[in-house]
């Protein structure tokens, strides 16, 4: 019985620390970065004033902290605003929708490995809430529930712009989930495992999927098979990243809420904290999406360059604190990826809806499918004889050519106008 209580206490501690102390603050932090980095891209300054108002307590100067308190001020403002429910909405669903967008994003946190195990007094503890053997599948299963939140918001608002936003979002998310799921099959084939902790451990030992330049702590060039696998891995990375952008409704694909066409999109009728929940859900999805990309392709918590073994063995007495350094590395990578998200937002203009659908169904879906077979061929190559590999490669090339031809033919060309 004491053993059980101990286990429960550890799980609770992990949930509270990792969800509420590590991931949740990342949401306001990414809002801050969004505002500051956008400003810097546009040659502006951004919010740099809000800090600790020491002058209220009689001191001479305020402590501005580069405006880091700004998101808190924004949150406080949203709390204090009137929570207005229009008379024409369907109340139950209207209230349910914001929660349905935040909760799935936060649930998926539980399979993300934040660092290597920490051990105290010989008791090792993994820095992941639920170390289940179906990591990516769990993430897809839960995060695709987000679409219900947005759809319900659009429908229950009982007003045309939110409705169009909700419909758009549904179509977009369902389309991109296909390429999202197909694109990571090569990765899973390569690792032969669905446990995210083991995937990251494998990358720490054998080089990151996109940077395979060390093995067992020694820096060097990868062998032929790993080097060949870099090609499907990179294609998978591209498709996965772009699909994550579409899944989180981020900028080139933010059609569900594009201001120029739909007022505010699916959250037009929302105000106060309910609106803030949508906002939070979007940013939480962004954080989780980048966490997943980093975990699968960029080595998760691994520092890389063969240093991970050394870091894991660092200890003061019986306290092995290497896991905390790895966690810092993971969060650094996460912030870098969020900055990349923001950079994309200010670089790529919004797609038209038909372009979005074409990109999802005609290009990414096919590319991901071919990529699966390419990866399978490369992985199976060592156990196959040369003629079979050649036949497989030729077959793949023919199929690829056929698909490209079909895509080209099916595209209706605008007829050239007579001069």
């Amino acid at each position: 019985m004491p053993e059980l209580i101990f286990q429960l206490a550890i799980i609770l501690t992990k949930i509270v620390t990792l969800t509420f102390i590590v991931v949740l603050p990342l949401v306001p932090l990414s809002v801050y970065f969004e505002r500051r980095f956008s400003a810097i891209i546009q040659d502006r300054v951004g919010p740099n004033r809000v800090g600790i108002p020491l002058s209220l307590l009689g001191f001479k100067k305020d402590f501005h902290m580069f405006g880091l308190v700004q998101p808190m001020a924004d949150g406080l403002k949203l709390f204090l605003k009137e929570d207005f429910t229009p008379a024409h909405v369907r109340k139950a669903f209207y209230w349910l929708a914001p929660a349905l967008t935040v909760v799935p994003a936060l649930i998926t946190v539980c399979v993300v490995p934040f660092g290597s195990p920490i051990s105290i007094f010989g008791h090792a503890e993994k820095l992941v809430i639920a170390d289940i053997d179906a990591g990516p599948l769990f993430v897809f299963a839960v995060s695709s529930l987000t679409v219900y939140g947005i759809t319900l918001a659009g429908w229950s608002s009982n007003s045309k712009f939110p409705f169009i936003g909700g419909v758009r979002s549904t179509a977009q998310m369902i389309s991109y989930e296909i390429s999202l799921g197909l694109s990571i099959i090569p990765v899973l084939l390569y690792f032969g495992d669905l446990n995210l902790s083991k995937i990251v451990q494998h990358q720490a030992d054998n080089g990151w999927l996109l940077l395979p330049f060390w093995k067992d702590g020694k820096i060097g060039l990868p062998d032929l098979q790993t080097a060949m696998f870099w090609i499907p891995a990179f294609i998978a990375f591209l498709i996965f990243t772009v699909s994550i952008f579409a899944e989180t409704n981020r900028m080139p694909f933010d059609l569900p809420e594009c201001e120029t066409e739909l007022v505010g999109g699916y959250h037009t009728e929302y105000s106060s904290m309910k609106f803030a929940l949508f906002f939070m859900g979007e940013y939480a999805a962004m954080v989780i999406g980048s966490a997943l990309i980093i975990t699968l392709f960029l080595g998760g918590w691994s520092v890389g360059f063969g240093l991970d073994q050394y870091i894991s063995q660092l200890h003061i007495g019986s306290f092995h604190f290497g896991g905390l350094i790895h966690m810092g590395c993971f969060l650094t990578k996460l912030l870098a990826f969020i900055l990349f998200f923001i950079l994309v937002r200010w670089t790529v203009p919004r797609f038209r809806y038909d372009q979005l659908m074409k990109l999802g169904w005609v290009i990414f879906f096919e590319a991901a499918l071919i990529n699966v077979f390419l990866a399978a061929l490369i992985i199976a190559a060592p156990s196959l004889s040369t003629p079979i590999i050649a036949a497989g490669a030729i077959l793949l090339a023919v199929v690829t050519g056929a698909i490209i031809w079909v895509a080209k033919v099916s595209e209706d060309q605008p007829k050239p106008l007579r001069a």
């Binding site: 891209i41 040659d43 502006r44 300054v45 200010w346």
Partner: protein
């Protein structure tokens, strides 16, 4: 009207793939970000930037020394070299003021005053700075060169009464202005 038929340009393969343009865009935005972090954005020097982007951080840094001579700030009354208040309360500015911000109460100059022949001076002269639109019509219409738009632009107050500039405040802002036509001067 003639209809001009345009052909869309044929995209090359590189342009269709879209990645080249994407990379170009990333370089452009990142270039802006890096330049603005180093304080070397285009125009940062001309605009006296604070070192981040082209922005000047307002309360600490001011644009005051760059204000042009024709800058239209708060209107104010002036006195001349002899210390005479130039306004003769003809009320033309009150009449012309588009938002009706000016209110003048005319008064008589007593006969024992050295400037008795001017006959009138304002007893009270109020400009409601909440109403004022800084158009400069009062300055243009004044036949006595008595009212000028100064470079003061930070007109703030905690209540409406603070925003009402009375005669004392207006002369305080305006101060003494030299080199004006002295048509009431004996010597000329």
């Amino acid at each position: 009207m003639a209809v001009v038929k345009l052909q869309r340009p044929q995209l090359k393969l590189g342009e269709k793939i879209y990645f080249g343009a994407l990379v170009k865009g990333f370089i452009l935005t990142l270039g802006h970000a890096i330049r603005s972090l180093r304080g070397k954005s285009v125009g940062a020097k001309d605009l006296e930037s604070s070192g981040l982007g082209v922005t000047m951080q307002f309360p600490e840094q001011r644009w005051d020394s760059h204000l042009p001579d024709y800058y239209r700030g708060a209107p104010a009354l002036v006195t001349d070299e002899q210390g005479r208040e130039r306004c003769v309360s003809c009320q033309l500015c009150e009449f012309i003021c588009p938002p009706k911000a000016i209110r003048i109460t005319p008064g008589e100059i007593p006969s024992d005053d050295p400037w008795a022949k001017v006959e009138k001076r304002p007893k009270e002269f109020e400009i409601d700075m909440i109403r004022c639109i800084y158009c400069g019509m009062c300055e243009e219409v004044c036949p006595e060169q008595a009212i000028y738009l100064r470079k003061d632009y930070l007109i703030t107050g905690l209540k409406r009464a603070d925003m009402l500039h009375d005669k004392k405040k207006l002369y305080e802002i305006g101060g003494v202005r030299t080199g004006l036509v002295n048509k009431w001067n004996e010597l000329k």
